[in-house]
């Protein structure tokens, strides 16, 4: 048993590709070993900017001998067929065996493959792995690139270390011969070093200022950066992505603390953090009060002779230049009212079939206003509801709660018309300004600050706090797990924006398909669902989507199938959203199958109650009883037309009738009142009578009248259950 070391040294590998490259190296190498019947006890991979390495532990020095048997043509087959077989087997005619197969003499080749030296297997595996390597982007280089067939790599490949035990595994790729030599840190130890074996690789390189293990470099940066901040009385703002990136840019990371002029702190902290992170890959720090401090931590790739003074000085200058650019944008943007900026959106095309961004804003503004005016947006407790109402605010967000407003009354108490009118004005105003920051200098520089900058500019330019907040947060929620806005104006604008996008693209025939969702409609739909469920908004989504496309109707767009398509789309997204919450998709189907439910909050609260019920014995057994009844009904061709009631029912039959008489109205009433848990409880009372019915009563009675009456009873049971959900869609 020996260990194998492979190092593929190249010019600097992009940081973002290194983790995947390690995975690919291990995977491809393991596959090559597997082909030869070899398996390493362990595969360890390392990546630095300049090298990709693998250590395979405990490989045998020989592969096992194997005997392969090939069945050939019959012994009396034409010569051409036999010659073909001989070529395939690599044998001569006299080496073949003849065996009887079902009475026919058939040729067999038995090929004994002796064990091979593992070193030989490795010598073939290395070029194969390099050739097959799936870099996201690769290149050609040097003299060999006269042909486009030359070896590609992420950047020019410079050296291969391949050692099995203490011996070099000889191979050649792209004109590079394998060996035992590599180089240390580019500046600390530029000379050649010789590796003895896998065992001394990591330590020899460490002695030459290269920390091969990416996890160790990450830890070094994490600890070093934190300490640098702490020693200055500050707290590092941790950033895992930045940690990984810096570890991917360094072989000998040295975190260093630098400062910038306090005057730059006038610029919003998000801008400073983004400038530092995106452009310079710096960490930033908070001061003792939790505010952004005028400090950063950069990660040098060298132990500088002067302790890093020059490096810090240089980095401070670069950041200062970046921040003065940012401040220039910020101050310039502040001088232009968002209303003025918004006018420029008339020149920006949203989509060729859907007009400009200004057109979109017009639609969103109307929709946002309408959402508020029609009561689709709930007002927060304590605002417009009076102090008494707010005291009973328990059970918010609890789907099983009975303390929920009725669909016709969006808030517990209708707010004053003034209050709602003001909110509608604010929603429209916010919608009109929401996209204006797209044409500001700052968002031009940092597109990821969209919304946020608009919020800052709106607040600074004297817009209402609610309007500024809505501008800031109207893109939210961006993904599952992102904060879901709750401020009414924000909810209105966010919903209107997303609903317009979805309905507009569907209406002009550009829905997502397969893996293609160029306009991120699925994400928008998940945002809509999160806003609705997170805020317990009660309205008819289908109607709303129709309304959102009124403008298209007037322009002569064909909206056939729109309702169906958007309905299916949202149902599908709902399942995706609920999967996260571990809600069963079949239960959603079971409720959807009832049809006519456009109130998602009610739908989900029914689904949640159903899931809770299905987890109980009563639920599972009721489902079994239901399925049995449904099967019988199906097998017997349904309920005969002339079915009546049995005048002399058997006891179990009578008991089921009585139970249904009692449970059915209860379940229905509970459903009407949206007390779905109570509806389930009512159904649960059917379980025992149904079990008893199946145990003691024969449905297929010789008397056609009895049979018909019993089938009718089963149908009645099925219908009673359907008051809650279509149980036929439930799995299990």
């Amino acid at each position: 048993m020996s260990d194998f070391l492979l190092e593929l040294r190249s010019e600097e590998i992009p940081a973002r590709m290194q983790d995947k490259a390690r995975e690919d190296l291990a995977r491809l190498f393991a596959a090559e070993l597997d082909k030869a019947g070899l398996k390493a006890a362990e595969l360890v991979t390392y990546a630095t900017p300049r090298r990709l390495a693998l250590i395979a532990r405990d490989l045998p020095t020989q592969t096992a001998a194997v005997s392969v048997e090939l069945k050939g043509p019959p012994a009396d087959a034409p010569d051409a067929a036999i010659d073909g077989f001989l070529r395939k087997a690599g044998l001569t005619r006299d080496a073949l065996e003849t065996r009887d197969v079902k009475g026919r003499a058939t040729l067999f080749a038995v090929i004994d493959r002796p064990g091979r030296a593992t070193a030989d297997v490795l010598a073939e595996a290395i070029p194969a792995v390099i050739r097959a390597f799936p870099w996201p982007k690769s290149m050609r280089w040097g003299e060999a690139s006269l042909s486009t067939e030359s070896q590609r790599w992420v950047r020019p490949l410079q050296g291969i270390v391949a050692l099995f035990g203490d011996d070099v595994v000889e191979c050649e790729v792209a004109g590079i011969r394998s060996g035992a030599a590599t180089v240390g840190h580019r500046f600390h130890h530029p000379g050649v070093i010789t590796i003895g074996s896998a065992a001394d690789y990591v330590e020899k390189l460490r002695a030459c200022h290269v920390i091969v293990d990416q996890n160790e470099r990450r830890a070094t940066i994490a600890v070093g950066a934190k300490m640098a901040a702490n020693m200055a009385g500050l707290t590092l703002i941790e950033d895992e992505g930045l940690l990984i990136e810096n570890a991917g840019l360094t072989e000998w990371p040295v975190p260093l603390l630098g400062r910038f002029d306090e005057a730059f702190l006038d610029v919003p902290p998000e801008v400073i953090q983004l400038t530092a992170r995106v452009n310079q890959k710096y960490f930033v720090c908070n001061d003792a009060d939790g505010r952004l401090a005028n400090a950063f931590v950069c990660t040098a790739n060298i132990d500088a002779a002067d302790g890093g003074d020059k490096i810090v000085e240089g980095n401070q200058k670069v950041l200062a230049a970046r921040l003065s650019d940012a401040r220039f944008f910020y101050e310039t943007d502040l001088k232009v009212p968002l209303e003025e900026q918004a006018k420029k959106l008339e020149k920006i095309v949203f989509h060729e079939k859907l007009g400009t961004v200004a057109n979109k804003i017009e639609r969103v503004a109307k929709l946002a206003r309408w959402l508020v005016e029609e009561g689709a947006i709930r007002l927060p407790a304590g605002e417009g509801r009076g102090p008494l109402a707010s005291a009973s605010g328990k059970g918010e967000g609890d789907p099983a709660s009975t303390d929920r407003p009725h669909p016709s009354a969006p808030a517990a108490l209708p707010p004053s018309p003034d209050r709602r009118g003001k909110l509608a004005d604010q929603a429209e105003r916010a919608a009109r300004l929401a996209k204006a920051d797209l044409v500001t200098g700052m968002v031009g520089e940092f597109p990821e600050l969209q919304g946020l900058m608009g919020g800052y500019y709106a607040a600074a330019q004297g817009e209402d706090a609610a309007v500024a907040e809505a501008i800031r947060d109207h893109y939210k929620p961006v993904g599952q797990g992102d904060d879901v806005p709750t401020a009414p104006v924000t909810v209105a604008v966010s919903l209107a924006d997303k609903l317009d996008t979805i309905s507009a693209f569907f209406a002009v025939g550009l829905p997502p398909s397969g893996s293609k969702d160029p306009f991120a409609l699925r994400r928008a739909a998940l945002g809509v669902l999160a806003l609705i469920t997170g805020n317990q908004l009660r309205f008819d989504l289908g109607k709303l989507l129709q309304l959102a496309t009124m403008w298209l109707r007037s322009t002569g767009h064909d909206l056939t199938g729109f309702q169906q398509a958007t309905g299916d789309f949202f149902a599908d997204r709902l399942k995706v959203q609920q999967r996260e919450a571990r809600i069963r998709h079949d239960l959603i189907d079971a409720v959807f199958a009832l049809g006519g439910e456009d109130d998602l909050v009610r739908l989900l609260s029914r689904v949640h109650a159903l899931q809770a019920f299905m987890a109980t014995d009563d639920g599972a057994n009721l489902l079994a009883g239901y399925k049995r009844a449904a099967n019988i009904l199906k097998k017997e061709g349904g309920v005969p037309v002339a079915a009546g009631t049995n005048t002399a029912p058997e006891p179990a039959e009578a008991a089921l009738i009585a139970a249904l008489d009692e449970a059915t109205p209860k379940a229905q009433a509970a459903v009407e009142a949206e007390r779905f848990a109570d509806a389930m409880a009512a159904l649960a009372t059917l379980r025992a009578p149904i079990d008893a019915f199946f145990e003691h009563v024969t449905v297929n009675d010789a008397d056609p009248a009895k049979r018909a009456a019993r089938l009718a009873l089963l149908a009645r049971m099925r219908d009673a259950v359907h008051a809650v959900a279509d149980f036929s869609k439930i799995e299990g």
């Binding site: 010019e11 600097e12 992009p14 940081a15 973002r16 900017p49 982007k137 690769s138 290149m139 050609r140 280089w141 040097g142 003299e143 060999a144 690139s145 006269l146 042909s147 486009t148 992420v154 950047r155 020019p156 410079q158 580019r186 500046f187 840019l249 360094t250 310079q280 710096y282 950069c298 040098a300 790739n301 060298i302 500088a304 002779a305 002067d306 020059k310 490096i311 000085e313 240089g314 980095n315 200058k317 670069v318 950041l319 230049a321 020149k347 920006i348 095309v349």
Partner: protein
């Protein structure tokens, strides 16, 4: 520590360094262009099989970057130092680092990093892989292995180094404003030479340039490019592509090209550049194949 190099001293040092390493020292191309890559010594010489090693300074015009001489870091006219080595030598990184050492960068006190930055020029139909080279967090050089030029595979691949001379000089001389750079060792500053140019040219680019003349010039350049192509003088055709590209940049600075039109203009310039490259390859192929029988497009 010795006196840092002046701006001109740095250029002379780079000329000397690359000259000693086998590069032709060329002069700037005598046309207005946005980047050194437009120089025929880079664009056209990156095509074809012949070895080519050259270094030169190229003045670059970026009309929209003008700041009337008021911003210490931004200029509408500045200098790039270009090195093009074809095929790319195996020790290109070491050669490059040698040039930094030659102009006075001490690797024991500074942090040099190669940070992924893939280069693409939509107007030249060109792309390559490489890095921006950072010195203490500042980008001082664009380092690219050309993979395609004018839409054609580079066979072989050329390595291109583009140094931002003003940035490097500000770094070496430790100056916060480009205008304070020592241009020579006798007290002349960069500002003495260029500040008035920046003021006037910024005003010209943003306010004065006659847009009708520019539009007319753009159309004429397109037509002249066609004329050159039909008469089989692709180098002359390529010059018209350079001209059109600069006029487009000026029109942008004048703010008369809408967002929607912008892509169409870039597309036109790219067509001129690609057409010229294609014609150049066609024109040169017999020569190239005579010398390199194994070469083909």
């Amino acid at each position: 520590m010795t006196e840092p190099l002046s701006f001109q001293g740095m250029i002379l040092k780079l000329h000397d360094y690359w000259s000693q390493r086998g590069c032709l020292i060329l002069q700037p191309y005598d046309m207005r262009m946005g980047a050194g890559t437009f120089h025929t010594a880079t664009t056209l010489r990156a095509l074809g099989p012949e070895p080519w090693n050259a270094a030169f300074v190229q003045p670059c015009r970026r009309p929209t970057d003008g700041r009337y001489g008021e911003n210490p870091n931004r200029l509408q006219h500045y200098y790039q130092y270009q090195v093009i080595l074809k095929p790319s030598p195996a020790d290109l990184q070491e050669l490059y680092l040698g040039s930094l050492a030659a102009i006075g960068i001490d690797f024991t006190r500074h942090d040099i990093r190669f940070v992924e930055d893939d280069w693409e020029s939509p107007t030249l139909g060109a792309w390559g892989l490489g890095w921006e080279v950072w010195c203490d967090g500042m980008e001082v050089t664009q380092f690219t292995y050309f993979q395609q030029m004018g839409g054609f595979d580079c066979k072989p691949v050329a390595g291109e180094l583009t140094y931002g001379l003003e940035r490097l000089a500000m770094y070496i001389q430790n100056k916060d404003s480009v205008y304070d750079l020592a241009y020579n060792d006798a007290g002349v500053t960069y500002g003495d030479v260029f500040l008035e140019n920046e003021r006037q040219m910024s005003k010209y680019n943003f306010e004065v340039a006659d847009t009708d003349t520019l539009f007319e010039g753009f159309r004429k350049a397109m037509a002249e490019c066609e004329n050159c192509l039909s008469n089989n003088v692709p180098i002359a055709a390529y010059e018209q592509a350079i001209e059109a590209s600069h006029l487009f940049n000026l029109l942008q600075a004048r703010g008369v090209i809408s967002v929607a039109e912008r892509q169409a203009y870039i597309g036109r310039v790219r067509d001129l550049a690609k057409g010229s490259c294609e014609a150049y390859i066609e024109h040169m192929t017999p020569d190239w194949q005579a010398k390199y029988p194994e070469w083909s497009l």
